[in-house]
């Protein structure tokens, strides 16, 4: 469809820009707020800081322990992403390129799991992690975060590997590569677009995860992630708005950067999700 009238176009741009500004206002508020002082916050309604105040970052990073939360979040996210990509690529490769008995059943389970009412699985997960003795490390959180059928990613890998030409695999076999080496040195590198989609989507999900790290760190505050640690500002630091804004900026900036750099893959993944 084509919008012809020039005036209509200008009006549309004006509306889109205005709403767009309101749309990202909370983030602008957050970044500006992170440089304001707390008195500034209470006294003045002007969201623009009168001077650049880096103390808020020091306070969030050191006093509110965001340095620890940041490291925890990075470890949790990177480990979970690596596990999920590996699991899904392996499964997708087997399902996409090999004919074996039971293949259809497995595909049916991968899709069918979405239609089981889940109940409150965090309670058994919490018990399981506890029984495995993993409540004292990030490992329990990583395990819980990696759980799931990963239906979308498995299907993306499966259909991608299924379309790769047979010749690529045959050439690798001719060169003396076994099944495993063919996968790791020839086929997996070809799946870069799917890997990118999986990495960025899982990265954003895990980084933002709230319930699992909340529950698994109930008695272990030092293992908390950024999303959970933000709650510190609600209780004991309830008046420290500037510190909270700095903490929020520290938490959201990495995701924003990753998204803006790799948004093509993320949006392709989201669009792919609806076609499945």
């Amino acid at each position: 469809m084509i919008i012809t009238s020039k005036i209509v176009k200008y009006i549309i741009h004006f509306i889109l820009l205005l709403i767009g500004l309101i749309w990202i206002f909370p983030f602008i508020w957050m970044v500006l707020g992170s440089f304001r002082s707390n008195t500034d916050f209470i006294v003045s309604g002007n969201p623009i800081p009168s001077e650049l105040n880096w103390d808020n970052y020091t306070r969030a990073w050191v006093d509110a322990n965001f340095s620890g939360y940041f490291v925890n979040t990075v470890i949790m996210t990177v480990a979970t992403v690596a596990i999920v990509v590996l699991l899904c690529a392996l499964t997708g490769y087997a399902l996409g390129r090999v004919d074996f008995p039971g293949k259809k059943t497995i595909l049916a389970i991968v899709v069918g799991i979405m239609f089981i009412p889940k109940g409150y699985t965090i309670i058994p997960l919490y018990e399981l992690v506890d029984q495995l003795g993993l409540t004292n490390s990030l490992f329990g959180i990583i395990l819980a975060e990696s759980s799931g059928a990963h239906t979308l990613f498995v299907l993306l890998f499966t259909s991608y590997f299924a379309t790769l030409p047979k010749e690529m695999e045959e050439a690798a076999i001719m060169d003396g590569c076994g099944f495993v080496r063919t996968f790791f040195s020839v086929m997996l590198p070809l799946a870069k677009p799917i890997i990118a989609t999986t990495v960025i989507m899982q990265f954003i999900w895990t980084w933002s995860s709230f319930l699992v790290p909340t529950v698994l760190t109930i008695s272990k505050p030092e293992l908390r992630t950024l999303a959970v640690g933000m709650q510190n500002f609600v209780g004991q630091y309830s008046t420290d708005w500037a510190g909270m804004a700095a903490g929020a900026t520290i938490s959201l900036l990495p995701v924003l950067i990753v998204f803006i750099l790799m948004q093509r893959y993320f949006i392709e993944g989201v669009a792919g999700a609806i076609k499945q």
């Binding site: 919008i3 176009k9 089981i116 009412p117 889940k118 409150y120 965090i122």
Partner: protein, 313 residues
């Protein structure tokens, strides 16, 4: 010949064995960390259990019976349904409008707007909740602004008024997810063949006629999917509700998943006893409701697809 055949089948066999080995890790993770917890969430719901002592006190369906007799449970279900309907009604239509505008061929800055409107989707919900709590706080930015331009004399107590708090939850939830619906719509719009538009233009159909006679009818199947996804995400709003209103005032914005959380893990915070069995039963009910609603939409989806297939060929 026989040797070659047996070599071939040996090769095939080894590939199959490798395939099983490749699937094994995901299968173990799935069985242990997904299926086992799902089954156990059902099992726990049949026990009176505090989460710490051994699981011995089997009580059948008593947790469910108690649940159905508790008004706080029904009010949580009502809050969930209001939130779900509110976010779906607001989000699905407005995201279509945005997608249609951004899909116009000669629009400049499409990628720019798409990024802007998508940013809330990737921002951590739990952090959004805390930020919004401040923006809508009693002396937060919104109240300061409203007082500055003279719309109100007294600051509005957004979070202590049930209807306002719920309204804000719905608005923020819609804002947060609009970008994802926009992408869904865009992928549906881009799947419409361009020659349909071209022939419509040749026939002299204007923007609105094209919209109502070509675009919207062809989007019906994707509408059903978007409604389904929107409804399911509306049923699970834990992160935002927990961090923004925490169910306040007086549990009026307490959604079902927050209700479950409060019974399962809120004990440590409020000093009340932890009731894992009861919480599990509530969790199972939440899962059932979600499945029921998605089942209805699933059926509609199959039905519309069939109808369209019949019409087109």
């Amino acid at each position: 010949m026989a040797a070659k055949n047996s070599n071939l089948s040996k090769f095939k066999r080894s590939r199959q064995i490798w395939a099983y080995i490749f699937i094994m890790p995901q299968a173990i993770v799935f069985l242990g960390l997904s299926l086992y917890p799902i089954i156990m969430s059902y099992v726990y719901s049949l026990y009176s259990w505090d989460g710490a002592s051994p699981l011995t006190n089997f009580i059948g369906f008593d947790n469910y019976i108690e649940l159905f007799q508790t008004s706080r449970f029904w009010s949580a279900l009502l809050a969930t349904v209001i939130y779900m309907i509110g976010t779906t009604a607001l989000g699905v239509g407005s995201s279509l409008l945005l997608a249609i505008v951004l899909n116009a061929n000669n629009m400049k800055g499409k990628a720019f707007y798409r990024t802007i409107y998508f940013i809330p989707v990737i921002a951590t919900t739990a952090i959004i909740g805390v930020i919004m709590k401040n923006i809508f706080g009693i002396d937060g930015t919104v109240n300061q602004l409203l007082q500055y331009i003279g719309l109100v004399d007294q600051p509005i107590s957004w979070l202590n008024t049930s209807t306002l708090a719920m309204l804000l939850l719905i608005l923020i939830g819609t804002w947060k997810n609009l970008g994802i619906n926009m992408i869904y719509w865009l992928s549906g719009l881009q799947a419409i063949p361009t020659d349909l538009y071209e022939s419509a233009q040749l026939d002299g159909a204007g923007f609105w006629k094209t919209l109502f006679h070509i675009t919207l009818p062809l989007l019906k199947p994707i509408l059903v999917v978007i409604l389904l996804l929107s409804v399911v995400s509306g049923m699970n709003a834990f992160d935002l509700v927990k961090t923004f209103t925490n169910g306040n005032p007086y549990h009026t914005t307490e959604t079902l998943d927050l209700y479950v959380f409060n019974y399962a893990f809120g004990g440590g915070l409020t000093g009340a006893t932890t009731r894992m069995g009861y919480a599990s039963a509530a969790g199972v009910m939440l899962g059932m409701f979600t499945l029921l609603i998605s089942g209805i939409f699933g059926l509609i989806s199959v039905y519309t697809r069939r109808k369209i297939n019949k019409e087109t060929g």
